[in-house]
Symmetry: C3
Subunit: 331 residues, 3 copies
């Protein structure tokens, strides 16, 4: 702590918006100018940052500290246990203690909901689906029959889990549906963002590994296995039967083709498309995705293509001047 | 059939997951190693495949056979005819025989639902919309007023059909809405995946042709005509007024620009963007999309750009050495 | 007006579909052939267009005129004021005059809805959210707690506003949620298309500026500020904390990286990805996006790469022939 340890902090805000009783944070050097001008009581910074004229709270991992501080000032909404009289609960449904079920939610036959879980308004939990303890389904989530969700997950509004995979047998130009009879299994501590879709396996399950976080409008196809602790950023997609190792990151609007093996901790850059297996620790970019350094060189080379073309033209002219004339040299 | 014809099969599973009374399938040579190790009672294979040590069921079209076998072991859920007392049915609604309407579904004035159709929980069928015989709307589908859906369609959760097209008259920098007064018409045997959106026509209709299959999170804009038997894979999009011929395939995350004519049986590769008309039978890739062979050559050439640049440098040096010095050559 | 001023027009249609009492429109020269063949009573055209053999209505801004004519023939559905007995209204909710609330809509504690607003069937308005006068929420919109929407907005079905931003503190490979405590603020006259998602700010708000129009399946991340009168076309996305100036256009399937400043009236071409700040008036394309002319040159150069490579090979051979042999030249 650099500055007055008695300073009173009543909340968290942005560098721009903070008042004299709020703490702001500088986690991206891009905003240093705003940090210098902030009215905040103090600024949360990483190791070695300097913001002259301001009290600082220097921490080893500023994002982690921000998470902790925000939890302090914004504790999660307390549960309001109870099942809305406007919810519809089917036969053989098992409900854990302290759960909260919103109006117009539907729990079909044989659904199980673990203790302290929240089923938001208008959710539909298909036959035999399972929601683990402390998991929150925000309003209007749909679980197709048989979907399994672990403990402490957050599933945001509009998410659809367990819809049919895109599987057809094409014969003589027309497409016959291949029944999709696997399930979606979401392990513990997963978050899935608004309006994302995860399809059930054709045969066997689609699996979202423990601790994985999925952003909005992401598509995970049938039979995909996403390892633990992955990050799938907004509008990314994974085609059928691909397998992502642990800690894989798919940046925004990226894609992974079907049946691939994507090694642990691989990063697929934004807007890129991976079409081949990659080993652990890969960092790939481009369409088709290649090692990100090769991609950067290619991008630079493309920018210089005009120059290269002009140079080749110059070389040709110099050669023309050097060579003996090609036509007959009659005496 | 290669092996013991008396073998009892009780179910279908993956090569990895199958037990000794299940049949697995090998449709992609990528998984031959797993086929060799499988515990399955038998393996469904295409013509000429060999999996030593295993009973095989060899068929001409393995995907088609898989579809049939899965239907056998997993017949579709039987209808539960009836209209939920929690559904709301407007005036002048016509309901076919044997239909099933889930709780909290809303059928507005003048809706028609054909026989044996299923309207899932929480669906909203706007005024005057039409759902054909045997069609299934999974929970939480929205049909804007006037939307027409044919027979035997599957419309997955979260799908929105008939929302306004994106049409504005921009004048002096501000955007005035052009009323969108056309409809969405979905022909027979169409499937539409979770959270996809098809906009109504501005004037005239948006049409999804018979037998076309649309994956999750696909966007079809106003006035588009998608031909019969097309496949629109996840997160692909078609801009306004484009016309797709029959059997067109848009691979994952691809796009088609507005007002284009896309010839019959054209394939647009994954992550590609088509910006010009293409004749029947085209196979295009890239941004902008070109013939896929040209695209492959371009990709290869880009990968070799560094080499080319070095080669040009070498040539320049060799030329330098050959040419007479440029400066004055004073005696 | 060119032709018979007494002609009776009863409706608007497409060039192809129009009958003899309808007006059609020719706003894209691509359709001139259809204009020549149309049966329409008259054709709406821009300045100087000629369609021999047809009555014309020539206007300075044909799209604007089309908007006005369509409004004339298709006035918006009249409001049906009233709150459905099947809606659920929480404590301390304030409802303006003349509002319409559909069945199974939920207005949680402290919600405010302005006069003449429409809350469609199955919408969920979280605690303390605000909907301005004359705004229409189509069925099945979700507003997370605290979301603010201005006047005269149109929010289409499946839209989710205010879901958590994708913010995690990663420590030792696992991802800890950073509470997302900002809001989504949508200003007046905004339209948001089906199944789009706008995340709440982490700290501070996500803002959609006045008059901005957002298409279907668009993703706007936490802390983004979208200026007034922007157009975000289908399946585009904006990453966290980016700031878009007024009148920015993101074409279909394009993306903007996090923390960028995108100058006023910038256009990001379809399928492009912007990774750096750009000044006002930019028109960029490609991945990564560059000035669109540079991108066009690069695309052309790539198409000619094969030719360039062949030319370099020819130059090398010519040089080989010119140079003295490299080996020893023993006498």
């Amino acid at each position: 702590m650099i500055g007055d340890p008695e300073r009173e902090i009543r909340g968290v805000s942005t560098l721009e918006g903070a008042g004299p009783h709020e703490i702001a944070f500088l986690t991206n050097p891009r905003y240093r100018g705003e940090a210098l001008r902030t009215r905040a009581a103090a600024v949360l910074v990483g190791p070695g940052a300097s913001v002259p004229g301001h009290d600082l709270l220097e921490v080893a991992e500023p994002y982690l500290a921000l998470a902790e501080i925000l939890e302090l000032f914004h504790p999660p909404r307390p549960r309001r246990p109870g099942v809305s009289p406007d919810a519809r609960i089917g036969d053989a449904v098992r409900l854990g203690e302290g759960i909260e079920v919103g109006p117009f939610a539907i729990l079909e036959m044989g659904v199980t909901v673990g203790p302290q879980a929240v089923i938001g308004a208008g959710c539909v939990l298909g036959e035999g689906s399972f929601v683990g303890a402390d998991t929150v389904l925000f309003p209007r989530v749909v679980l197709y029959p048989g979907t399994q969700i672990g403990a402490r997950c957050l599933i945001h509004s509009g998410v659809v889990l367990g819809s049919d995979g895109f599987g057809f047998a094409t014969s003589a130009g027309s497409h016959r549906k291949i029944p999709q009879v696997g399930r979606v299994v979401v392990e513990d501590d997963v978050e899935i963002g608004a309006n994302s879709a995860v399809d059930r396996g054709a045969v066997g399950d689609t699996i979202i590994g423990r601790g994985t976080k999925i952003d909005d409008l992401v598509m995970v196809a049938h039979g995909v296995r996403v390892g633990p602790d992955c990050l799938l950023v907004a509008q990314s997609g994974v085609a059928g039967s691909a397998a992502l190792g642990r800690r894989v990151i798919l940046a925004g609007q990226s894609g992974v083709a079907g049946h691939l093996n994507v090694g642990e901790a691989t990063i697929v850059a934004a807007k890129s498309a991976l079409f081949e297996d990659v080993p652990a620790g890969s960092f790939v970019a481009g369409i088709p995705a290649v090692d990100h350094r090769a991609w950067k060189r290619a991008v630079a080379a493309i920018r210089n293509l005009d120059k290269l073309r002009r140079e080749v033209r110059t070389l040709r002219r110099r050669l023309d001047a050097l060579e003996p004339p090609r036509g007959g040299t009659e005496p």
